[in-house]
């Protein structure tokens, strides 16, 4: 017995005899991997490879040696008699990616939520100026990105699965490294209906990935604010055990306009106005009699005077790497951008530090902080006479901006000298914004982790406006300072364990608290001794216009429980209890939940023989999320009085009626999908059906006018959005020299108003509706139905403009209120999507991103002003189309005869301004060339050099009606008045050339 034991011990000692093992770890191409981890399985013995990918380790025969490297598949070998083991690690395929989700991350093949990911690889070769929203465009199904214009700083409308609410904001929630950022614009009204883009404050080069959360399974954890979808932006982090990678990226870009409406030249204008007078009064006078100067006496092209080719210069720099216990990413960026509009510049400077350090086995601390300063010189937009792309179009072209001495001339009417305005006036907003967090992660036991995370979003914004004497006699100025501070504290416990090898459980409980305070201070002044006095303090009359503070708090408690059996069957449930200060004490709690299930069919035994399908998963989720926003009103439920004065006596007046019952808006989403991969992962197809029902819509309900109140904040009715999302990606060709891959996404969307408020107006068919200008939201139909008088064109015989009356009969005297009908056109597209093609040939890469929208209409409201003979009392320029007015019987003219009584109301709002909005746009074309490795090797320090060229908005296919009018033209965030443009400034066409150098 003892002998046996002894023998066994000897044997043990003999077998455990260690020897030195060496080798090289390389990637699939044979290039050495520095910093790869080599560990003897089930021990703590391990090492890392050196810069040549070489390792040395003491091991015994029969040991399992495990090789790993971030981003590559692990490999395990068994030590045999040999002493050298060279290992090639293969890159992880897509399906094994880790995806950032709400409050955590998950392996892509285990995820059952619906999350669109725009990964680091997809972003790698895309470069953008001014704002990262361009990076999302056309890249993900269910996500529509529409710029409000090509001006710098202009906002962007991002919609996740359409419009799910009828209150003021249908924008998704933006979360940067776990910090929910404020999308309040903090800029004053400048004619346009949208403010400065909140994403301007993020350096695009810092972004590692976007995750767009779409279904309830993914958004329920954002409870209160998840209903419009959530865009998670993750910034780049360092990589463990990886030497520093230094990246220097520089580019220059030129910017011009895509397309412009054409007005009349000075002589055309003289001819046009004179012809009209001569026809109307049967006379024959020359233009000088009308004060327009003689033919050939010149004039101005005001659009040309206010436009330019903008030049942008960009530099960014980053260092990324890590040691065993520390990872880091640090970056700096500076950009001077000019748009195509004189007076519109944006300077951005940003720095970022992302650090993570493992102090103890159980404790890590880290921080992700980005600080950005932007200085935006803005020009006004849309419905303002100070807006260059409004006023330049309609200023009388026979006028001049300067006199013979070169001095700017003061305008004789309310339309300012726009050339002087853009060159001399100032509208500068200087914003410093810090978005960041600091966190600690504590492993209480290996399976249980506690994390505390403190995040901030701090904005200091200073807007300085100054209008000079030639524009505003005496001069005016204003200064508005906004501080907008948000902080949030999140504490969580997460648990993860696998029992009996096949039962995996993940759980999360989390509490978060978020507080926001905003202070606005403003003064304005008039009367300056000189234009050289730049600030409002030098004005002779000064007025305090603001000095107010507001705030809100949201506090949430949430949990998530996931279980999977053998990576085949998945279930997940989430819940969140929210409290928001925006509702009265009795209604402030909101409860949101989701349930999800998934089945990875391809992991089943019976699937082993089906070779052409590599991966197949069925998934479904259902759940709810909420919305607490009513026009950024902090107390939408409360009857409030505002103060003022009458002749110096203090006054108080009702500013808002009470609705103590006001509560959460809730969106319930059902989401069913299939995720699949075929032919060795060369073809990937994801199909999803979704149905979102929003109930208790938060809405500023119009009240009967006799109440003397415009609106009441109320929960009303129900809205439904349903549709299909298709994402298809394929590797069409792949060989040693050439690779071509395509990805296509299409989203269909059907919006239906299920129910409106009981008190809403009722139409002749007994359907309730809400009318906003030119559109109606109608029960049983969608939110957007254009409601207009039907224009029938100019009668070739009579020269009268003709319309259809409410009965469909031709009339020349329509009633522009009672002859309106629903014209069966909507601002909401039937489907939208994008196509990305990527080609690689040797060291060249080429990618194209198209986006498209089909089935929507646009109401070009600005045409009311620039069509017709009497537009603005006949003192302004008109579109070229108006030259084609009716003169003789048989003419198929654009405009009626000036002598026709209909010439006066030809430009009334009707379907004449309603245009088909379909388009296909080559949004981004990028061509790159990476210097060959052979050249890199000759230098001692360069590791990668890529030269690239990018063009945006290079090509747009659209209907002929849209000449001069951009199809991406939303000028409003209001869900009830989508698709209406009013001299929306054009989009930008840019050409960019740059180089990215890695050391």
């Amino acid at each position: 017995m003892i002998l046996t034991l002894f023998m066994a011990l000897i044997t043990q000692l003999t077998i455990a005899q260690q020897k030195t093992i060496s080798g090289t770890v390389s990637d699939g191409n044979g290039l050495p991997l520095a910093g790869a981890t080599v560990v003897i399985s089930e021990t703590t013995t391990g090492t890392t490879t050196d810069f040549d990918g070489k390792y040395l380790i003491q091991a015994s025969v029969g040991d399992l040696l495990n090789f790993s490297y971030t981003g590559y598949s692990e490999q395990t070998i068994t030590i045999g008699t040999a002493n050298t083991y060279n290992v090639r690690l293969q890159l992880n395929t897509d399906l094994e990616e880790v995806v950032v989700i709400a409050y955590g991350s998950q392996s892509k093949d285990k995820i059952i939520q619906n999350v669109s990911v725009i990964s680091e690889q997809a972003l790698e070769n895309l470069v953008t100026t001014s704002s990262p929203d361009q990076l999302i465009r056309g890249q993900a199904s269910g996500v529509q990105v529409v710029s409000t214009s090509g001006l710098l700083g202009s906002n962007v409308n991002i919609r996740v699965r359409g419009i799910n609410t009828i209150n003021s904001s249908s924008a998704p929630l933006f979360v940067v490294d776990g910090v929910v950022i404020t999308d309040n614009t903090n800029t004053s009204f400048d004619g346009g209906l949208t403010g400065q883009n909140p994403l301007t404050f993020i350096n695009s080069s810092d972004i590692e990935s976007f995750s767009i959360l779409k279904d309830a399974g993914a958004t329920a954890l954002y409870g209160a604010r998840g209903a419009n979808g959530v865009v998670l932006i993750t910034t780049k982090k360092g990589k463990r055990n990886k030497g520093a990678t230094v990246t220097l990226n520089q580019f220059v870009q030129t910017t011009t306009v895509v397309d412009l409406m054409e007005g009349l030249s000075p002589d055309e204008y003289r001819g046009f106005r004179t012809d009209i007078v001569n026809i109307l009064y049967g006379v024959d006078i020359p233009p000088e009699v009308l004060g327009l100067g003689t033919f050939g006496s010149g004039g101005s092209d005001f659009v040309d005077e206010i436009s330019r080719t903008g030049l942008t210069k960009h530099t960014d720099f980053s260092v990324r790497g890590g040691s065993e216990n520390t990872t880091y990413f640090m970056s700096a960026m500076h950009e001077d951008a000019e748009s195509f509009a004189i007076g519109n510049d944006l300077t951005r400077t940003a720095v970022r530090v992302n650090l993570d350090h493992k102090f103890k086995k159980w404790l890590s601390l880290g921080t992700n902080i980005g600080v950005t300063n932007t200085v935006l010189n803005a020009v006004e937009t849309e419905n303002s006479t100070a807006a260059p792309f409004t006023t330049a179009f309609f200023t009388n072209p026979t006028l001049r901006s300067r006199d013979e001495n070169g001095n700017y001339i003061r305008s004789s009417n309310f339309i300012p000298n726009i050339t002087a305005l853009v060159n001399l006036n100032t509208n500068k907003t200087d914003v410093t914004r810090t978005i960041g967090n600091a966190y600690a992660t504590i492993n209480i036991i290996p399976e249980l982790t506690f994390k505390t995370n403190f995040g901030v979003d701090r904005i200091i914004s200073e807007q300085n406006k100054r209008s000079v004497d030639v524009i505003s006699p005496g001069g005016t100025a204003s200064l508005s300072v906004v501080t907008d501070n948000l902080h949030r504290l999140t504490n969580s416990l997460s648990y993860s364990n696998t029992f009996n090898k096949s039962h995996t459980v993940n759980a999360l409980v989390l509490h978060e608290f978020e507080e926001r305070r905003r202070r606005v201070t403003g003064i304005s002044g008039t009367g300056f001794l000189s234009d050289d006095l730049l600030n409002v303090g030098s004005a002779t009359t000064r007025i305090v216009d603001g000095g107010a503070r507001s705030g809100s708090i949201i506090s949430g408690f949430l949990g998530r429980l996931s279980y999977n059996y053998d990576n085949k069957y998945f279930v997940e449930m989430t819940g969140r209890l929210d409290e928001s200060s925006k509702f009265s004490i009795t209604n402030r709690q909101g409860r949101f939940w989701s349930l999800g299930a998934g089945w990875t069919v391809s992991n089943e035994k019976f699937f082993e023989n089906i070779n052409f399908i590599n991966y197949l998963k069925l998934r479904a989720t259902i759940g709810t999320a909420g919305n607490d926003r009513v026009d950024d009103n902090d107390f939408p439920y409360s009857e409030l009085y505002g103060t003022g004065q009458f002749g110096g006596i203090p006054t108080a007046n009702v500013v808002q009626p009470a609705n103590p019952n006001l509560g959460w808006e809730e969106t319930k989403t059902l989401d069913i999908g299939i995720v699949s991969s075929f032919f060795e992962n060369r073809l990937n197809l994801t199909v999803t059906y979704f149905k979102k029902n929003t109930t208790d819509l938060l809405f500023q309900l119009p009240l009967p006018p006799q109440t003397g109140q415009l609106t009441l904040n109320k929960n009303v009715g129900e809205l439904e959005n349903k549709g299909w999302e298709f994402e298809l990606s394929s590797t069409n060709i792949k060989n040693d020299n050439f690779e071509w891959s395509t990805s296509l996404n299409i989203t269909t969307l059907k919006n239906t108003v299920i129910e409106l408020d009981q008190s809403a107006a009722v139409d002749e068919n007994g359907r309730r509706f809400i009318e906003t200008g030119s559109q109606r939201a109608v029960e049983g139909l969608s939110l957007s139905n254009f409601y207009l008088v039907r224009y029938a064109g100019v009668n070739p015989q009579t020269g009268d403009a003709e319309w259809l009356d409410v009965n469909g009969d031709i009339t020349t005297t329509p009633d522009f209120a009672s002859d309106r009908v629903l014209v069966d056109q909507s601002a909401l597209p039937d489907f939208t999507g994008g196509i990305t093609n990527t080609f690689k040939y040797k060291n060249f890469d080429l990618s194209t991103v198209f986006n498209f929208s089909v089935g929507n209409s646009i109401l070009a409201d600005g045409l009311l002003f620039v069509d017709g003979i009497d537009a603005i009392g006949g003192i302004i320029n008109v579109r070229r189309e108006n030259l084609d007015f009716w003169r003789n019987p048989g003419d198929n003219a654009f405009a009626p005869s000036p002598a026709s009584p209909t010439a006066l109301n030809f430009n009334e709002r009707s379907t004449a301004q309603l245009l088909k909005g379909d388009y296909l746009r080559l949004n981004n074309l990028t061509l790159g060339y990476t210097l060959p490795v052979s050249i890199m090797d000759k230098t001692s320090f360069l590791s990668n050099v890529r030269l690239y060229f990018t063009a945006t908005n290079l090509l747009t296919f659209k209907g002929k009606d849209l000449d001069g009018i951009d199809p991406e033209n939303n000028n409003s965030n209001n869900p009830l008045s989508q698709g209406v443009s009013f001299f929306t400034a054009p989009q930008a066409k840019t050409f960019l050339f740059g180089a990215m150098i890695k050391f």
């Binding site: 003061r410 004789s412 009417n413 309310f414 209480i444 036991i445 506690f450 505390t452 505003s472 006699p473 504490n491 416990l493 608290f513 507080e515 008039t526 009359t541 007025i543 305090v544 507001s550 809100s552 506090s555 409290e579 200060s581 409360s638 009857e639 409030l640 009085y641 505002g642 103060t643 003022g644 009458f646 002749g647 110096g648 006596i649 203090p650 006054t651 108080a652 007046n653 009702v654 500013v655 009470a658 609705n659 009240l703 009967p704 006018p705 006799q706 109440t707 003397g708 109140q709 415009l710 107006a761 009633d815 209120a817 009672s818 002003f865 603005i872 009392g873 003192i875 109301n905 009334e908």
Partner: protein, 473 residues
Amino acid sequence: MKKNKLIFYSLIMWSLINCSENKLEEITPEDNIPAALIFTNFSTIEATTVGIYDGMQNGDIIGGQVEFIGDFLSDDVNFVGSYPSLQQLRNFYAASTNRNVNDIWFNVFNVTRNANNIIENLAVLSSQDITFSDPNDFETFETRKQEFIAEARFCRALVTFIGANLFAHPYQVENGENLGMPIVTAFFAGDEGRFKEPRATLNETHTFIENDLLFAVNNLSDFNGIRASSTAAKALLSRLYLYREQWSEAANMANAVINTSGFSLAPDYTFYNNPSSEHIFRIINLPDDSAFGLNFDLFYNPASARGRGDLTITQDLITAFTAEIGDLRYTTLTTEDRDPSNNPARFTLKYPNGQTNESDPNVLRMGEIYLNRAEANLRGNTTIGDTPLNDVNAIRARAGLVALTAVTLEDVLLERRKELAFEGHRRMDLLRNNKNLKPENFPISAPGGNKTILPIPANEINMNPNAVQNTSY
């Protein structure tokens, strides 16, 4: 050890959660007053009363488009501006969706709302319910309460009258049996039911106005600073009775105003935008009042004076002024400048503050009261207070014109036109005297014509099943 750590961190977490919970209650409005506090304090009650006047500082109800739309629909003013909705009104083809019409209608009821808030909610309070910072207010609370309610009723009467003049045909068309305004006496507190009132007849509307004004006459003192007084109520009653052809009541009310000490015809025209005995009631605008609505300053001043220059004086009125040499109302109160098309045009100088929008609309002034008395006496064959000839000559003397030796109704109306030009009287003066709004005598602008009154806004028609639209809209 592990167990302790777990407990320790759990405790930290809970303490963090708990310290945050109470903070939710700390979020309160910092720059607004919650309604619950308004009627608990005498100062906020008074501020809410004066708030009614604040609401009337909007050019969409007084001192702006209400008056100038009336003036350009008739023969004093040309609208040469770019607002399509105003062009439609000028051309007599406005639809019920017209934005300006909608704004005017809304503001009538917005001021009515503020007034009804005081009328309805103050009436039920006693001094025990309220805190006072001045003990005198406690002592005199019942009197002050009636005064506040009387001011509110004056304001309600004023805007209802403004609405009736625009949205209903004048008394003369159907002896007041035609549709007038809805009578709204409630303050909105969530129930919309009381705000879908049908339109009363014009006579009923006028009775409602008359009752409010008589209450104000009985409960206010002769003089009340810049706020409504019993004199103002009498002055407005004289206009109401004049419009209703109740000649002796009109003359008596005007006479009562003229005999009230502290009110007299100012010696010259410096009273515009300055304190003066001329004013019975006006809206005071200051530079730091936000300029709401389409106001006089914005529209009447040419670009050189920082306005839009959209409203120029008609040739017809210039001819009327220049028929006599040296009318100071023409030579000192109008000026030559350029319209938006850069053509020479004449502009009024009654509202010269294009930069600051602080010109003060004259709602009720002595010039009108003398002319009310003159016209009422002439039509009623009376000489209450004085003869029509003396009253007209008093106005003419101030304008630097020679005295007349006899007056006809036409003389009174001509003097009224010149004296009150650009103050929003012309349209009603023409219609109630059965005169076409336009010198060209277009059929569309004839008295009683469908388009001489405004449409009831589409919003009202859509949201009120009891609403009745005016003919032809």
